[in-house]
C-alpha cells in the first residue's frame, strides 16, 4: 500500500484538529478497510481460539486476552464480504467499544494515520454494512467501519463484559 496520507498520527501531539480522525487501515485478504484507531487496544499475531457451542458465523469462538476470554469477531461475515476463501489470518486487532472487547482476525494492519475531514465522505463506492463513510486514498477507496455499532450489535445484546463470575460450579 502506498503512502496515501499526509503523515502518521501521534496521539497527544499538536495535531489536535477537531474534524480529523485517526484511523487504522487493515486488510481482510484483499479488502482494505479502516476503523477508528482510538478503539484499537492492541495488535497481536494470530491467536489460538476455542470454538464455542451455539456459535454464530459472526462470533465463532473465544480467545484469551489479558486474563479474560473475549469473543472473536469475523469481520468479513459481519460486513457480508464474500471472499471466496478462508481468511489469511496473520494479525489480530483487539478493540474495545461500548464496554465490550473483541478480537478481530485480519490479514494485515498498518500504522495509524490521520485523515483530514475533506478526505472522508459518505459511503458511495464502498457498500458494506456498518459503514457510513469512506476515505479516498489517492484512488483507493476504503470503507470506515463503525466499530462501535458492530460491537454493540453483536456483543452488546448480552450486556457488557463486566460481572460474569469465574467460579466454576
Amino acid at each position: 500500500m502506498a503512502h496515501y496520507f499526509t503523515q502518521p498520527c501521534l496521539h497527544g501531539t499538536e495535531w489536535d484538529v477537531a474534524d480529523d480522525m485517526t484511523l487504522m487501515p487493515f486488510r481482510l485478504n484483499e479488502t482494505w478497510l479502516m476503523v477508528d484507531a482510538a478503539l484499537v487496544r492492541e495488535v497481536l499475531g494470530r491467536q489460538t481460539t476455542l470454538t464455542v457451542p451455539h456459535q454464530s458465523r459472526e462470533l465463532p469462538g473465544l480467545c484469551a486476552w489479558r486474563g479474560r476470554a473475549i469473543p472473536v469477531l469475523d469481520m468479513a461475515q459481519v460486513l457480508g464480504i464474500d471472499q471466496g476463501k478462508p481468511l489469511d489470518w496473520e494479525r489480530t486487532l483487539v478493540v474495545t467499544a461500548e464496554d465490550n472487547t473483541v478480537a478481530i482476525p485480519v490479514t494485515e494492519a498498518r500504522a495509524v494515520v490521520r485523515v483530514e475531514s475533506e478526505r472522508r465522505r459518505p459511503a458511495h463506492v464502498t457498500q458494506h454494512r456498518f459503514s457510513g463513510t469512506e476515505v479516498d486514498a489517492d484512488g483507493d477507496v476504503m470503507a470506515v467501519i463503525e466499530l462501535a455499532s458492530v460491537v454493540q450489535h453483536l456483543v452488546g445484546r448480552g450486556g457488557n463484559e463486566r460481572g460474569r463470575a469465574t467460579a466454576a460450579g
Binding site: L50, H54, L59, E161, R164, T166
Partner: protein, 151 residues
C-alpha cells in the same frame, strides 16, 4: 470423585504465594471440549450408547449441534455427585487437568455462553469451557433417558 484441591508454595519475591490448584475433568465433546470440576463428578464408567436405558450424550443435553457421524461414539458415562441419579454420556477421550484460578478466564456476557462458568486454559492456550454445575443438573433433571438421537 473426591475434591482434591492442592496447594503449592511458589516463591514470590520476599514471601510465598499459596497457589490453589483444582482438578477439572475435560470431555472431548464437539464442537469444543467441555469441563466440570472433579468434585462435581461422582463416577466415570464405561458405557455404550446403543444399549437401552442410557442417558443422553452431553452435547444433546446442552442443546449443542448434533455431533457429526464421524464423531466418536460416547463410551463413558458420567454421574454427577449429589442428590439424584443424574448422568450423561461423553466420548471416550477424557483428561484431568489441574488449574489455578489464573487459568480460569472469565467469559464475556453472551447468550451463547449462558451455562458456562469460565474458559479453562492449558499450556497458555484456550482448552475447554467449564460448565456451571447447577444449570447442568437442572437440564439433566428435565431430559429423560433415551437411546434415540433428537431430530
Amino acid at each position: 470423585m473426591a475434591e482434591r484441591p492442592q496447594q503449592d508454595s511458589e516463591p514470590a519475591g520476599s514471601g510465598e504465594r499459596q497457589v490453589t490448584r483444582r482438578e477439572y475433568v475435560v470431555f472431548a465433546t464437539s464442537p469444543c471440549a467441555l469441563a466440570l470440576p472433579a468434585n462435581a463428578i461422582a463416577s466415570i464408567k464405561r458405557s455404550d450408547e446403543r444399549a437401552q436405558g442410557l442417558p443422553q450424550r452431553l452435547e444433546w443435553v446442552l442443546g449443542m449441534r448434533p455431533p457429526a457421524p464421524s464423531d466418536e461414539l460416547p463410551t463413558r458415562m458420567i454421574s454427577l455427585a449429589g442428590e439424584g441419579d443424574l448422568s450423561f454420556l461423553v466420548p471416550h477421550e477424557l483428561a484431568i487437568l489441574q488449574a489455578t484460578q489464573d487459568e480460569l478466564l472469565p467469559l464475556p456476557r453472551l447468550p451463547e455462553l449462558e451455562g458456562f462458568a469460565a474458559l479453562l486454559m492449558s499450556g497458555g492456550k484456550p482448552h475447554a469451557l467449564v460448565l456451571h454445575v447447577d444449570p447442568l443438573r437442572a437440564l439433566l433433571e428435565a431430559v429423560p433417558s433415551a437411546t434415540s438421537s433428537p431430530s
